[in-house]
């Protein structure tokens, strides 16, 4: 059979190639370019090789930020996933209450991130904030997120839970609605308990959406920036300096573009690796589901 040669198909791919070049490849290569040079100013640059990478890997502050961020993501996932599933199970399945519950639960997701930060910054203030005032004056618990590292940490964590648990709840809710009623009837005929229904029907059927929820929540919390930046600015001290805040201090604050670029690439790699690990492990747990 004779093959016809026609390379014009390339033209069809060209728009994608061009747009991806501008949106991803060229900026990324700029970062790669920066990461191996020391930038003093326009036109003034020195080749430094892998020096910034070595520095980044050895930087104690960076290690601390990484551990802090991992701990934060871990705590956020640990609370948000079960809480989201719990909320989804409690939400009415149909009727007018279902729509109302959906709107109410989705509300935090509709608020811009820096507004969320502002809301919580004010909410936590001891003088004019509802939450801060209540804790300090009514309950008598000394609480000040600008001075106390622990208070700052919990403020950011609770804020993240408030902001993002609804996402998990919505995903889980959608997953629950996709389970055919016949499963519940079958379970009732078997006289299965509510716990058994959750354990053997709902949870396995939710595996797909929970995998997505865990991945999304991990990536987002690992890249958290806006909210802590608005509320605490990374403080007090370094208590809430997560990786992206650390990075922006380096790049924007100190204008150390070289180290910041090197670290960006490491950061990028870390997220990829963690996401891959999450994805493969969760996918392999209880692989009996077709959903």
């Amino acid at each position: 059979m004779e093959k016809t040669k026609n390379n014009r198909a390339w033209f069809l791919v060209l728009p994608v190639v061009i747009s991806v070049s501008f949106s991803a490849i060229i900026p990324l290569m700029t970062v790669v370019n920066y990461s191996v040079q020391d930038i003093f100013g326009p036109g003034q640059r020195v080749w430094v090789g892998k020096e910034w990478y070595v520095d980044a890997v050895r930087d104690a502050d960076l290690h601390a930020a990484l551990l802090r961020n991992l701990l934060f993501s871990f705590e956020a996932l640990l609370i948000e996933i079960p809480l989201g599933v719990f909320l989804a199970l409690r939400m009415p399945a149909k009727g007018k209450w279902a729509s109302l519950a959906l709107v109410l639960i989705a509300l935090p997701l509709l608020i811009p991130w820096n507004v969320v930060g502002t809301i919580w910054q004010i909410f936590g203030r001891a003088d004019i904030g509802l939450g801060g005032y209540f804790l300090n004056s009514t309950l008598g618990i000394p609480y000040n997120y600008t001075l106390n590292a622990r208070d700052a940490w919990y403020t950011i964590l609770v804020m993240d839970i408030w902001h993002w648990t609804p996402l998990v709840a919505l995903l889980a809710y959608a997953g629950l609605r996709a389970i055919p009623d016949a499963y519940y009837w079958a379970a009732r005929i078997d006289a299965a308990s509510n716990w058994a229904i959750f354990r053997f029907i709902q949870l396995p059927k939710l595996r797909g959406v929970l995998l997505i929820a865990v991945l999304l929540r991990f990536m987002d919390s690992f890249m958290i920036y806006t909210e802590p930046f608005v509320v605490t600015g990374g403080g007090p001290g370094n208590a809430t300096t997560f990786l992206s805040i650390f990075l922006s201090k380096l790049a924007v604050g100190q204008f150390d573009l070289g180290p910041a670029a090197a670290f960006s690439l490491i950061y990028f790699l870390l997220i990829q690796v963690f996401s891959y690990i999450f994805f493969t492990t969760i996918r392999n747990i209880g692989r009996g589901d077709t959903a």
Partner: protein, 370 residues
């Protein structure tokens, strides 16, 4: 053991799912036949105790179980979807009802599960998860889960509808043997008349939430009380032709007449509707009394080794288009638009009055049913 439903009714949000009906189910096979939205599933859910009737009582061996929650009843249910616990193996799936009920030793449980699995021919698959099974095997597992409990009431809601033709035939025959070997009330719902005929037993014909007729399958098939039962219990649906009975003769829409003899003799003159099953319509006269109906070929469907020939015939008195469908043995070719003449034998005609009630049914010819 007997299950009685006494003047039960089911209304949900002002919409009537089931109009008042009474039925008694005896051990053996009970087939619920009806098109979708007939109320088959609702009826079975009432029998299972998954729902309560709006009014009426459900008696099991004379004992009122209407308000008894499903947990306390001894029922098994198979659905048209393949319902198994997704992260339990086939063995654990089949064992789950026994485990919840408890009271069985480990070896006794294993024996029961294995025996049931062998009966459903899935004993080689006990370690697999449902997702690693074919559709047929998944449904076998679900059926095994229902059978293992050895309940007095086994409900099967269109269990074979999601399987392909071959598997359906295979499973139907196996299940028939299993039903025969048990002393349980089996309720089996289906939309297919052929399936009801193959399964046998007692049939309950449902339509739009009403119980139209019940009785032994062949009896109902040969003697439909109403035109609607005849339509439901015939696939392709029974042909209906408008006719008038005058002076002992039936006049068709195209004006031709033929004598109303044998079972049709003695009827009052007036308007009637002739019902004739497609398998009784032929392309050649079957006897001297055959009635010829001229028409034009509209469609010829080939289904397996049969051909369904749809023809357009003379319009009815109200101008509605006349139609006649013939179910022909073998694969035949027809040109669309080709004029053709179909024949029907007056001995095989049903007559319904204009209210749809049966006026005359042909003599029963038992051997041709299956």
């Amino acid at each position: 053991m007997e299950l009685q439903l006494e003047s039960i009714r089911k209304v949900v949000g002002g919409q009537v799912y089931l109009y008042e009906m009474s039925l008694a189910l005896k051990p053996g096979l009970n087939v619920l036949l009806g098109p979708t939205t007939a109320g088959k599933t609702t009826l079975m859910r009432l029998m299972a105790g998954l729902e309560q009737p709006t009014s009426g009582r459900i008696l099991l061996d004379g004992q009122d179980v209407t308000r008894l929650p499903v947990k306390k009843r001894n029922v098994a249910f198979v659905y048209q979807q393949f319902i198994n616990y997704p992260n339990l193996t086939v063995f654990e799936n089949i064992a789950s009802p026994l485990r919840i009920r408890g009271g069985l030793s480990k070896t006794a449980l294993r024996e029961r599960v294995e025996a049931t699995a062998r009966m459903m021919r899935i004993h080689d698959l006990l370690d697999r998860l449902p997702a690693a099974l074919s559709g047929g095997q998944q449904q076998r597992t679900a059926i095994a889960r229902a059978l293992v409990k050895e309940t007095g009431l086994l409900l099967m809601d269109e269990p074979l509808v999601n399987l392909d033709y071959k598997l359906r035939e295979e499973l139907r025959i196996e299940m028939q043997n299993i039903f025969d070997s048990r002393d349980a009330i089996v309720v089996y719902s289906t939309t297919e008349p052929v399936e009801a005929l193959m399964l046998g037993g007692t049939v309950f014909v449902l339509d739009q939430g009403r119980l139209l007729q019940s009785g032994p399958v062949l009896e109902v098939y040969h003697h439909p009380d109403t035109q609607r039962v005849g339509e439901i219990f015939s696939d392709p649906p029974m042909n209906l032709l408008d006719a008038r009975l005058e002076e002992g003769q039936l006049r068709l829409a195209d004006g031709q007449r033929f004598p109303a003899t044998s079972h049709m003799a003695g009827l009052l003159p007036g308007a009637y509707r002739i019902g004739v099953r497609p398998n009784h319509v032929t392309t050649a006269p079957t006897g001297p009394s055959s009635v010829a109906v001229p028409g034009v070929v509209e469609l010829a469907e080939i289904s397996g080794s049969e051909t369904f020939l749809h023809t357009a015939t003379a319009p009815g008195p109200d101008g509605s288009p006349g139609k006649l469908v013939a179910q022909l043995e073998g694969v035949h070719r027809f040109e669309l638009g080709q004029p053709t003449t179909l024949y029907m034998d007056p001995d095989q005609l049903y007559l319904f009055d204009m209210e749809g009630k049966l006026a005359a049914a042909p003599e029963r010819i038992w051997e041709e049913a299956v």
